[in-house]
Amino acid sequence: MLECRDLRKSFGELAAVDGVSFHIAAGETYGLLGPNGAGKTTSISMAVGLMQRDGGQVLVDGEPLDPGTTKLKAKIGLVPQDLALYPDLTARENLRFFGRLYDMPRARLSRRVDEVLEIIGLSDRANDRADTFSGGMKRRLNIGIGLLHAPGLLVLDEPTVGVDPQSRNAILESIEQLGSEGLAVLYTTHYMEEAERLCDRIGIIDRGQIKAEGTRRELAQILSQHDRVRLSATGPLHEGAEALRRIAGVQQVDVTDGAIDVLVEQAGNSLMAILSALDQSGVSITGVEIDEPNLEAVFLHLTGRSLRD
């Protein structure tokens, strides 16, 4: 469906995208996972023909796509990171306007507008102006516009940024549903959980380069000899983390809300030392989980920094 080869884009001295390549098959959901400024938005801007490339090639169904190309763009639906809708038009008017740009026949457009309003759960607010909507409703309309012309590939650029948990979950469910219906999806995010939940394959991107690519399991294999120990705890967590970093076999230590994540070679060999070090640091442990490494750990291992950086 979509193939990007060696995409390159620089802004002055900064190489925002430096040789990014990936492909997405029909019906596949592909995620670009990386922190802010990693090059995700620039990559997809080139992939959908929004931005001129300094180098590389984009193929949609085997045909080259450039910013000046018009016909191929009809195969792609874009959901930009920022809301992209007209606040003074109603939900229906927004959908109809963009539908007309895709040359949809009048009858089909009317039908499709109703279908999409149903999908995004805005049928009862169809004739209300978008500026009267909540943030979550605007996000759903934003996605609906991208879906309207029934594209073969849907490109979503961090669609859940700034969305409340309830709306976020509704959005993720919609995307899961679309993926299961055979739509190819390119999804960018810096939320590890979203990438793990939605994506068949994930490209880990940092500083304009794809550092690793594969299914979640394939990526976890990068750290196959490691275990992830999650310690729910209270007390001076950062002091405890410092103590853990001095233990042999501990690869990474990451402090999150009320917990310390430890990436360690063979958890069974180091667990007692870990618990002892935390106890000596004054940290009270309330729970211990041992699991295989998650994408956050993989990302940290590959880039040396956290997804939240």
């Binding site: 801007s45 910013p67 874009l78 930009p80 003074d88 038009l89 007309r100 740009l101 895709y102 516009i145």
Partner: protein
């Protein structure tokens, strides 16, 4: 083309929903044109008549040409009413409204003292007095100018006689011959009053046209600046990602601006004609000028808008340009009458060419507006070219 029309239709729907278009495009220019027309009409278009009190105390031979000749002639033409006063004091009282004729507005008093003729004839200093009414500055100034003009004439005669006496004293003995020579000599300089009424728009039409053009630049900016709004709302990316040619986005914005501009001008022309009595001239010529002016307004405002990075900046830039060009272009007052640099500078604006074209149309035929139309189209071509060059970069990040 269809996508451009879709974009234009969407923009028009937004603008109609945004009620400010009614204020900018219709209410404001119509209201201001009405106010300006009503305020300025009585001053310049109404029949002007001044009333002077004349105290001819002298009754001498040199007072008669002023009273009977100059002032009498003006009275006969209906420009001046004359009120005879028996004395200088009475004339002064009349002007100050402190006499028995205080009910009558006297703009100025012209007093010819008792020994005026005798003093002039014997070469002694003489004076004519003008008492001005402080509330009638224009008419009072006219009285002063008339009297000054007469005094200057006397000076010339006195100078000529003195010169003749110095070079050929014998000729002075033949007074009748000198008078005959003077009478037969043609005036070296004549001033011909060429009426400019065929080239000058009446006040109502001038202010109607001026303000319509002024607000035209605000009206078209709704379409022109909407490209910046598209960027502000993130919808520009959607348009760029849609299967439409990039030029159709710009064309759509231009169609919006053109539609809004034409409708606004049409309504104002009809309204000022029927409500205020403006006379715009030959409809075909007016249509040609309106189309050319609207096109030039779009080009100029697109160029200004293309310099801005945000919609807020675009609005500020556009407002500054619209107001500045409107003032320089003479939409608020006939700047060509100011003369000098300002009168020439106005032609750097489309406004001035539009008003010039209407003036040419009023004084001639449709062919006479060709220079104005060509100038307006030249503005369109130059500014649109610059705007497109600037926008090309914006639409191809």
């Amino acid at each position: 083309m269809r996508s451009a029309l879709n974009i234009a239709a969407k923009d028009l729907r937004q603008r109609v929903r945004d009620r400010s278009i009614y204020v900018i495009a219709l209410a404001a220019p119509l209201g201001l044109a009405a106010i300006f027309g009503f305020v300025f009409n009585p001053i310049s278009d109404a029949d002007f008549t001044a009333t002077f009190a004349v105290a001819n105390v002298d009754q001498g031979p040199l007072a008669a040409p002023l009273v009977d000749g100059v002032l009498g002639g003006l009275a006969e033409a209906g420009n001046v009413n004359l009120v005879q006063a028996a004395s200088a004091e009475e004339a002064t009282r009349l002007v100050e409204g402190d006499g028995e004729r205080a009910d009558q507005d006297i703009d100025a008093a012209i007093i010819i003292p008792a020994d005026f003729s005798a003093r002039v004839q014997t070469g002694r200093p003489a004076e004519l007095r003008v008492v001005q009414n402080a509330n009638s500055s224009l008419a009072a100034t006219l009285a002063l100018a008339i009297v000054e003009g007469y005094a200057r004439e006397l000076d010339y005669v006195q100078g000529a006689v003195t010169t003749l006496a110095a070079f050929d004293p014998a000729r002075l003995a033949d007074a009748a011959g000198v008078a005959g020579l003077a009478a037969s000599t043609p005036h070296p300089v004549t001033v011909r009053d060429v009426s400019a009424s065929t080239k000058q728009l009446d006040n109502t039409t001038f202010y109607g046209a001026g303000l319509a053009t002024f607000f035209l630049f605000f009206t078209v900016q709704f379409g022109v600046n909407s490209l910046l709004e598209e960027r502000h709302f993130g919808t520009l990316n959607r348009l760029l990602a849609a299967p439409v040619p990039r030029w159709s986005i710009i064309l759509g914005k231009a169609i919006t601006s053109f539609g809004l501009g034409l409708v606004s001008m049409l309504i104002l022309i009809v309204a000022t004609s029927f409500i205020l009595g403006a006379d715009w001239g030959n409809p075909a010529g007016v249509a040609l000028l309106v189309v050319a002016a609207t096109a030039s307004a779009i080009g100029v405002m697109a160029m200004v808008s293309a310099l801005a990075r945000t919609s807020e900046q675009g609005e500020v830039f556009s407002s500054i340009a619209a107001v500045g060009l409107g003032i320089i272009g003479g939409t608020f007052f006939p700047i060509n009458q100011a003369g000098g640099v300002l009168a020439s500078l106005r032609f750097v604006t489309p406004h001035a060419w539009f008003l010039q074209g209407l003036g040419d149309l009023a004084g001639g035929s449709i062919g006479d507006i060709l220079p104005a139309v060509v100038a307006l189209l030249a503005f369109t071509a130059a500014s649109s070219g610059i705007a497109l060059a600037l926008l090309r970069r914006r639409l191809n990040p």
